[in-house]
Symmetry: C2
Subunit: 147 residues, 2 copies
DNA sequence: GGATAAAATGAGAATGATTAGCATTAAAAA
DNA sequence: TTTTTAATGCTAATCATTCTCATTTTATCC
């Protein structure tokens, strides 16, 4: 049973709004972006790969890693390091930060505005700051009670 | 030419002040701690290993990784992830944060106090925050002019 | 000071995450 | 439809790190 992936574009016709000049909007890329959005848990590349396998088993692991990295570089999604040893991705691209629970390892959003923090470091360090990653570690409200 | 490492304790008699109950203060551990302090560049485990090889070529890579991880767990040194893909270590243990230059990849200290930031996240997220990692990326004052 | 128990070491194999190489496939343009 | 070349899907390779385990060494006990 040989199958292509063209039929999938009907299912996963995700509107990818970023700059695509010179790039090709492949079905795989759409599926991967869609999977990240569906998962909605700051998924790791491996988690995205597992999810994608159910939709299109022919998609290779390298394609998942490649697309996630590129999408992050192009600003279409956000990459989050320093959480669990592997890279995680977030389809939510507006500036925000993260908490990781030491117990359940779930990742939570922190929506506060820390722009004054960046300005502070800029002034005193003379460092031309492009981006700022803030990661909190601790216990989420569920695990705080359970542990 | 067979040599032990006992002679080295005279050279690297670093005062390790942390809780050592049940632990053994081996010569290797002292050398590794001393190397991290000498390097003073937020070295990676690999960099520490390279430096240590010059002092005591017999010290294995696993021992360097093992000791750095343990010392960080015990609070004797500080580990810094999310910088370059590998784990870095800092003998400076008082609370502070880091800038990484995108160009020269050097790591700089940020001495500001962000405790109010942590408090803010605690209040609004209900997250019991144990630690907070803030990493800035950008260009240092040298590279800003050179690039 | 020597015997003893257990923690720590050193060497290399194993692991996990990620990337590289390359022949093949398939978007977008002509 | 043909052409161009970016993107894919394998697999092997890489990199950082941890694991395994026989051997060594530290701290303790006599």
């Amino acid at each position: 049973m040989k199958r292509g992936t063209a039929w999938l574009s009907r299912v996963f016709l995700t509107a990818i709004s970023a700059n695509m000049e010179g790039k090709r909007n492949t079905v795989q890329r759409q599926i991967i972006y869609g999977a990240l959005k569906e998962l909605d848990i700051h998924a790791s590349a491996e988690q995205v790969f597992e999810y994608v396998k159910n939709i299109a088993p022919s998609i290779g692991k390298a394609t998942v890693y490649r697309n996630l990295r590129r999408m992050a570089e192009e600003g279409e999604i956000m990459s989050i390091g320093n959480l669990t040893g592997s890279m995680h991705y977030d389809h939510n691209c507006h500036t925000h930060y993260h908490c990781v629970c030491d117990n359940c390892m779930k990742i939570f959003d922190v929506e506060e505005d820390f722009s004054e923090v960046m300005g502070k470091a800029y002034e005193t360090e003379g460092f031309d700051i492009k981006e700022c990653a803030i990661t909190f570690k601790g216990l989420c409200w569920q695990c705080r009670d359970a542990v």
